[in-house]
Structures are given as C-alpha cells and as structure tokens.
Symmetry: C2
Subunit: 305 residues, 2 copies
C-alpha cells in the first residue's frame, strides 16, 4: 500500500501534481454524494457518509481492473454547519482511503444553499491497454458476479419502514460499509480472466444492460443462480427483486470467455456463475421453471425522500 510517492504536490496549490507509474494509463471517475439523494443524515452517521462517498469512486477504479492513487473531494456545506459532522465525515473517508493507500490530494470547498453536497474524484492507474472495459463481452462468455447482491437495497427498505429510522451500521455493513473490490478487480485483470466488467452500483438489471449495450450483445441469466445477500436473525435471503434491481452493492459483474475456468473464490470473495452472453440483444431472466422473460433495466434511483 501507500502510493503517496506518486503525489508530487497536493492540497495547497492550484492543481495537484501527480506522477503515474511507468507504462500506466490514468483512470478518472467522479461521483456525487448529495444529502437527501444519496444519503440521509437521520439514517447515515457521518463516518458512513464519508466511507460510502469514497467507495463510489474506488469501486469504479476496481471495475476497470485498476489501482487507486489519489482522491479529490469537493464539499459544500450549509453556512453554519457543525464542524464535528465534517470531522467525522472525513474520518470515515480517510479511514477507507488509508485502507487502500489512497491520498486525499485536493478538492474544493463552498457554501451550500441546502444540505451537504459532496463530489468525489478518484485518480487511479492501470498498465497500458489493460483496462477492462464494458465493451469486451462476446457471445458465449460466461457472466459472473462477486459476493452477494441486494443487501444494500434491502437495508434501505428496512430503513424506510423502521419507525426509529436507526439501524446499527456494523450489523448491516453491506449498506453502510461496502468494500470496493479493488483487489478482486486487479486479479481479474492480471490473470486476463475478464473480457468485460462493471461495478454493481445501479443494480444488476441496469448494469448488465450497460455491458450488453456497450458490447453489442445480450445475456441470459438464471434467477436461481443469483447469489442473494442474507440479513436478519435468523439470517434470511433478501427478496429476488433487491438482488435484481437494488443498487449500491459495489460488487463486480464481469464476463469470462467460456473456455476459461475461474476459482470459486478470489481473494476471499465468492465468485458465482449466473448466466451467459448471447448474440441476441436484450437480457433474459430464466426462472426456476426454465421460463424466460425480458429483464428490463429498472434504473436504481437511490431512495425518494
């Protein structure tokens, strides 16, 4: 860890100055975290907001098979705002940054008219020509996901119906403390496993459609094969709809040429075969009776407040 040697000038100048590793290309991603749209102060402690803010960017780097170098935070706050909230927000963000050897190297601050507005930029790198794009899926490729799906959306459902609107973050860590799959993404790139990849931020139905659109292909997936998150005591699998359409699980969705065999777990994360890429456009969901139906992308729109 510790790619801080790549930061030549950080906060305190007009721009950050950074050096890429030799023979690497730059990866850049930018993601909003807006109060009332992406988080709610009555649901999400400040540390959680900071953690999730940076996770959004790191997960995009993971989805390219890249490695993160630096983050840039633009943060706008209401005029008279509690410094303790900001301190705790930064603590959550910097803890995750530290876990992945990422330096906070710049950003912007401003006053906001309404609510907390954050925009996170992550700069990463990947060896030349090795970035895993969305456009590389070919008919016959197998479709895999990492981890379990639907846990984040199912948690939001609980929050919406919980009178106190408080859940203990560590008991629902898939939603509150998602882990970007940086190491998994890097291994998939290094081993040449993945022909196309995306992170599951908008939900399986939407993100698989992105891969299909960019690759000019379709896909068939089996509902029974989709690994669903478990929650509660005793643990129960979340409903299928959360696994299909729920966003913000930050697992990786990727395609692998069918002749390649890949391990059942990579770097401790379970990898599950859920279907295959087809020449025919569109995504088909095959149910437990082998009946197929069109799976339309139900765009994940966070929560409505």
């Amino acid at each position: 860890m510790g790619r801080a040697r790549h930061i030549l000038a950080g906060i305190g100048d007009d721009c950050a100055v950074l050096q890429l590793p030799p023979r690497h290309e730059a990866l850049i991603t930018t993601d909003f975290s807006l109060e009332g749209i992406h988080f709610r102060r009555d649901w999400h402690p400040p540390e959680v907001v900071g953690h999730r803010c940076l996770t959004r960017g790191l997960s995009d780097i993971a989805a390219m098979g890249g490695e993160p170098i630096a983050a840039f935070l633009s943060l706008a706050l209401p005029r008279k705002f509690r410094q303790s909230w900001v301190d705790r927000f930064l603590r959550g963000l910097l803890q995750l940054a530290n876990d992945f050897g990422v330096t906070l190297a710049g950003g912007d601050t401003a006053e906001s008219r309404d609510g907390i507005l954050a925009d996170i930029v992550v700069l990463g790198s990947v060896p030349k020509s090795k970035a895993i794009l969305r456009s590389g899926a070919r008919p016959g490729d197998h479709v895999y996901v990492s981890g379990q799906l639907g846990g984040s959306a199912a948690t939001i459902e609980l929050l919406l119906h919980s009178p106190s609107k408080k859940l203990h973050p560590t008991a629902f860590s898939r939603h509150f403390y998602p882990i970007p799959r940086i190491k998994l993404g890097r291994i998939l790139r290094e081993k040449g496993f993945a022909s196309a990849m995306i992170d599951l931020s908008d939900g399986l139905s939407t993100d698989l459609a992105h891969i299909c659109d960019e690759s000019g292909v379709g896909a068939e997936i089996r509902s029974e094969a989709i690994p669903r998150a478990t929650m509660g005591k005793p643990p129960r699998e979340v409903e299928l709809r959360f696994a299909l359409h729920g966003g913000e699980d930050y697992e990786l969705l990727f395609t692998v040429p069918r002749t390649r065999r890949i391990p059942e777990t990579i770097s401790g994360v379970p990898i599950t075969l859920i279907g295959e890429i087809t020449k025919r456009k569109g995504v088909i969901l095959i149910d437990e009776n082998s009946v197929g139906r069109d799976l339309l992308p139900e765009g994940w729109e966070h929560f409505r407040v």
Copy 2:
C-alpha cells in the same frame, strides 16, 4: 489543439482511460459552480454558466504552466428541469472546451434537491518537474500580473444595483466570458520566467497571500501600479478595492527573479510589474504618497444572495 488522442475511453465506462504525453506529470483540479453561490440564473445566461464553470478549472491548469487534456462534469439538477437550459449550459462549456482542445470525458449526473449544482474536474499535464508551484517565490523576486484586475467584481456590483439585473454579457466579458490564460502560463513555464504562480480567482489580496504563505515570504505592491479594468461609456477605471479584493478575473499572478527581464506583453496579454517579494512576512500596499499599510486578504466570497 486537439489532445483527444490522449482519451482512450471516455463517457460510457466506469472510468475514463487517459494517456499522458511522454515524460509528463498529471495535473488535477476540481471546482464547484453552485447556483446562488457562484452564479444566479437571473444574472447569468446558461451559456455563461457553462463557460465560467470550465474557466475555473482551466485557469488552475494555466496557473501551473500546464496544458489541459480532459474535463469531467458532475451535474445535479432539480427533478423537473428544462432541458433547454442544460443544452445551452453545455453549449457554453463545450465551446470553451473546443477552443482549448479539451475533451469532455466523463462525469456524473444526479437529482438535486435545490438548484443547479455543477462540479468541474480538469485533467492536464506538464513536463516532469516543470509545474510552477505557489511555493517558489524568493525575496527580491518581482511580482507581476497579467491583464487588468477588478472587472469581474465591479460587474457584480453593477448587477447588485441594477434594477433589471440584466447586463449584456458581451459588453462585460471580463465577468461573463473570462478567458483562462493557458497560453500565457505555458510560455512563462517554457521560458523559465516564473518562480511562483497562482491564478486570480479569489482576488489579488488573497491570492498574493497564498503565494507568500506557501513560499514563506512577504511582498510589497504599489497601488498605482495595479492595472485596473475599465468599464462603461466613456470607459472608466474600476475602483481600487475591486482590483485589490475582487475575485474571478482569472488573470495570472506570478513572481520572476529580479535579474530576468520579461516582455511587456506575452501572447497579446499585457504584463505589469506591481511590486516585489520581501523577506519580511506579510503583504504591504504602498499608496501614491509612498505610505505603506498592511494589505489583509479579504477573502472573496462571490456574492451573497
């Protein structure tokens, strides 16, 4: 122009993938443009908001002596928002991007609870170790500014006191259509003129204090030497306070070792000697009677609405 060959993947993947020119370092800057804080819809036509949004980022690249490559726009809009505003905003932003050979290579979109929220990221590059930092000013260095100062702040004063709150953008182009000094910054770097540089976004008093703080020095400037913008018919110089404290002129402020002579204009932009760097900390303003007083940084806070 046209550094689009550096963009290997842009909008439509998890990250943009970019190649830096050989033996270059990356420059990254990020700047908010928030409705009611940085612009007002009743003052600023959408094209102007787009232009000024990107200018903020390009000007930071200019201040390092760098060249811009790509921009990334995060844009959040109220739920039911007129598409025509967005189209015109993008037209203004893309026109300026085109003028400087910059590609819009990614970003994010979201719903906003209140007003238009934009965050612009610009990636640029500079030859290795050649970035002009704020920290390089030395006692005895001469202090220069490009162009004329105070025009943007004086325009805001007019807007605040104009009953119709409409001014014709092209007649007050310093405020509405500021030009980032990319070419000037590059020449200052190539010729090795500037020991330290910053762009005038917060105002002379604040930005000169930034150079002094980062360089561990002070400065003396002469009020008579400060080139003030002219406005109105017949043209009149703006008040000194706007030239001293007004922000968003996007001119360059830089220091030059006293033995170096620099041209009176560079790439068509007038260059004016306004003072010198001192060993003694703090910034002194010397008036027309040769009386000096402390010039405190009066942080530019845009306008209060």
